[in-house]
C-alpha cells in the first residue's frame, strides 16, 4: 500500500496523546501509590526488601526474598572501591573535579554500558549459557560446546563468563557459592553445565569460570532472561563509583592522579604553522 496515495494512519500516536497508560503503577494523590498491582505503602514498604522491589520494577515479578538476597550479595561482589577500575575511575575524576555525587555516580554507571566490562558482558554471559544449554539438550557434548565457542575466537578460550580479564581465578565465585548455600539454593542445570564447561576449560587452557559465568548460570536456573538481568543490574556499580567519588571529593581539587604536561605522550604532528 502506498502511503503517498492514502492518508497516513497515525492512530498509534493519536491514542497516546495527552495521557499515560502505565503497565507498572502510579501515584494517585490521596488514594495510594501502586506498583505492579501492589499497594506500595501497605504491601511492600517494610514487608519486602529494597532489592525485591528493584527486581519487581525491572521484571514485573516480585521475586522470593532469598533470590533478592542473592542478587543483593552479588551486587557487593561486582562493585568495590578501587578507583583503578574504569567506572570507579570516572567517579574519582568527578570528585577531584567537584562534580556532584549524583552526576559522578551516574557517569560511572553510564560507563558500564560497555562491550568490555560491566553489565553488557553479563547479558552476553546469560545468553551464552542459555544457548549452550539448548545445544546440550540438542545432543552436543560439553567438549563440543567449548570447542565450537573457542573456534569463534581463533581457538582461544574467549567464552563470556570464563577466563577472567586482568586476573586468573575469581574469588567472587567462591563467595557467591557460600551465599547460595546459606540461602538454601541447590545447583540447577545451567550451573551444572557451567561447572562442566569450567572443568573443560581448565583441562584445555588452564582457564576457569569467572563471576560472570557463575552469575549467568545461576540466574538462568532462576529463569531470568539476559535482558531481565541487564535491567536488574542497571546500577550495579553505583556504590563503588560513589565510594571513589567521595574519596577524591574530600581531598584538594585535582589531586587524583594529577598529570604534568610531559605525562602525556604526544605522538602527533610536530609544530607547524598555518
Amino acid at each position: 500500500m502506498s502511503s503517498t496515495m492514502t492518508k497516513p494512519d497515525t492512530s498509534l500516536w493519536d491514542q497516546q496523546r495527552n495521557k499515560i497508560v502505565s503497565k507498572k503503577g502510579g501515584w494517585f494523590v490521596g488514594d495510594g501509590i501502586y506498583c505492579h498491582g501492589y499497594d506500595m505503602m501497605d504491601e511492600l514498604v517494610g514487608k519486602v526488601s529494597y532489592m525485591q522491589v528493584v527486581m519487581l520494577n525491572a521484571t514485573g515479578r516480585l521475586p522470593e526474598r532469598h533470590v533478592a538476597d542473592w542478587f543483593e550479595a552479588v551486587h557487593i561482589c561486582l562493585s568495590w572501591p578501587d578507583s583503578r577500575i574504569w567506572c570507579n575511575h570516572i567517579g574519582a575524576l568527578g570528585g577531584t573535579m567537584r562534580a556532584s555525587a549524583v552526576a559522578s555516580t551516574v557517569a560511572g554507571v553510564l560507563a558500564t554500558d560497555s562491550r568490555s566490562y560491566g553489565i553488557k558482558p553479563l547479558k552476553e554471559g546469560v545468553a551464552f549459557i542459555q544457548a549452550a544449554m539448548a545445544s546440550l539438550k540438542g545432543g552436543l557434548s560439553v567438549e563440543a560446546i567449548v570447542v565450537n565457542e573457542c573456534e569463534k575466537h581463533g581457538g582461544k578460550p574467549y567464552i563470556m563468563g570464563y577466563a577472567r580479564p586482568i586476573a586468573k581465578g575469581d574469588e567472587r565465585v567462591l563467595a557467591m557459592e557460600l551465599v547460595a548455600k546459606n540461602l538454601d539454593f541447590s545447583d540447577g542445570e545451567h550451573l551444572k553445565l557451567a561447572y562442566d564447561i569450567d572443568r573443560e576449560l581448565l583441562a584445555r587452557f588452564n582457564e576457569g569460570m569467572n563471576i560472570n559465568g557463575y552469575m549467568s548460570a545461576f540466574l538462568s536456573d532462576q529463569h531470568f532472561t539476559p535482558e531481565e538481568v541487564y535491567r536488574i543490574c542497571a546500577t550495579l556499580v553505583a556504590s563503588g563509583v560513589s565510594a571513589c567519588y567521595v574519596d577524591m571529593r574530600d581531598r584538594p581539587a585535582e589531586t587524583f592522579l594529577p598529570l604534568r604536561c610531559d605525562d602525556i605522550d604526544f605522538q602527533g604532528k610536530p609544530h607547524r604553522t598555518l
Partner: protein
C-alpha cells in the same frame, strides 16, 4: 551442594601503558611549572593562531580529522551543523532537557541529560554508526535496485503498527515521510563538498518514497559524516555534539519557569493497565 575447587586469583600481569598517548593535542610545559602549559597545539597548529585565523567549523574538523578541511568540506559540515542544531521541542531528547530545566535540575546536568537520551537507537545518536556502515556497504550498488530488493525481501518484517525502518537511517516516521531530513539532504547534496554517500542516499530515499518512507535525520547526518571521512564509530558522538545547542537552549528556556510551566498529566488521564 557440591564443594568446588577453584583457581586462586592471580594477576595476569597485563602490560599497561606507562603514559596516555595522543595524536591530537600537545601541551608544551612552561619553564617554571610542569603542570602549566605555555602553549597548546592541535595536530601541530598553535591554538592561538587557530583561534585568530580559523573558524569554529574548521577547528572542529581539524580536531577530529587531523587536517584542516577544504573550503568545500568546511561548507558541507557547517551547513549540516546548522541543519542539525536543534532537534526541536517535540524530540524526546529535548523534552528530557526541558524536564530537567523545569524541574530545576542543576544547570550543568541539563545538557548531559538531553545528550544521554539523544544517544538512543531510535532516531538518535545510537543509530548513526549503523547508518554509516549501511551506506558504506551499499553505495557502490544501484540504489534503486537495492531499495527494490529490500522492499521485496524484507516485506514480511514490516511492523503491524508503528514505523518501519527498512534500513539504518531510512524509514517512515509517524507513518509518513519525514520532510525536513529530505529537504536538508536535498540542499546538502547540491554542495560541491557532498560525495557519493549523500548522492546514493538521495536516490535510495527517493526509491522508498512510494512506500511512505525516506530519509531520517540520522541517515542524512550519517551520509555527510561518511562523505567527510569520519569513522563510523564517531557518528554517535558527532550527532550528539551537533544537536547539543538545541537541547541546551530548550532546557534552559524552561529552567527559569515555575515547575507548573510544563504539562503534568492529570490523574484522570493517567491509567494503570496491568494487562
Amino acid at each position: 551442594m557440591e564443594k568446588r575447587q577453584h583457581q586462586k586469583a592471580t594477576s595476569r600481569n597485563d602490560v599497561f601503558a606507562d603514559k596516555i598517548t595522543t595524536r591530537i593535542w600537545e601541551e608544551v610545559p612552561s619553564k617554571g611549572n610542569p603542570y602549566i602549559a605555555a602553549s597548546h597545539r592541535c595536530h601541530g597548529y598553535d591554538l592561538l593562531e587557530l583561534m585568530q585565523q580559523k573558524s569554529y567549523v574548521e577547528m572542529f574538523y581539524l580536531l577530529f580529522r587531523g587536517n584542516l578541511p577544504s573550503s568545500d568540506e568546511c561548507q558541507l559540515l557547517e551547513q549540516l551543523m546548522v541543519g542539525l542544531i536543534n532537534p526541536g521541542p517535540r524530540h524526546p531528547a529535548t523534552r528530557a532537557a526541558m524536564n530537567a530545566g523545569v524541574g530545576k535540575s542543576d544547570p550543568q546536568n541539563v545538557l548531559p541529560i538531553g545528550l544521554i537520551i539523544m544517544g538512543g537507537e531510535h532516531l538518535g545518536a545510537g543509530a548513526v554508526e549503523d547508518a554509516i556502515r549501511f551506506m558504506r556497504k551499499h553505495y557502490k550498488e544501484d540504489p534503486i535496485e537495492t531499495a527494490e530488493t529490500m522492499l521485496t525481501e524484507l516485506a514480511e518484517q514490516r511492523p503491524q503498527e508503528g514505523d518501519w525502518y527498512i534500513a539504518p537511517g531510512f524509514g517512515s516516521h509517524f507513518s509518513g515521510i519525514e520532510l525536513m531530513p529530505s529537504q536538508l539532504a536535498s540542499v546538502l547534496a547540491k554542495l560541491p563538498g557532498s560525495g557519493s554517500m549523500l548522492e546514493w542516499g538521495e536516490r535510495f530515499s527517493s526509491a522508498l518514497n512510494k512506500e511512505g518512507m525516506g530519509w531520517l535525520t540520522v541517515g542524512v547526518a550519517a551520509a555527510v559524516f561518511a562523505d567527510l571521512g569520519f569513522h563510523p564509530r564517531y557518528g554517535a558522538g558527532l550527532f550528539q555534539l551537533l544537536s547539543a545547542p538545541g537541547l541546551l537552549a530548550h532546557g534552559m528556556e524552561q529552567a527559569n519557569k515555575p515547575i507548573t510551566a510544563m504539562p503534568f498529566v492529570s490523574d484522570s488521564a493517567y491509567v494503570i493497565d496491568y494487562d
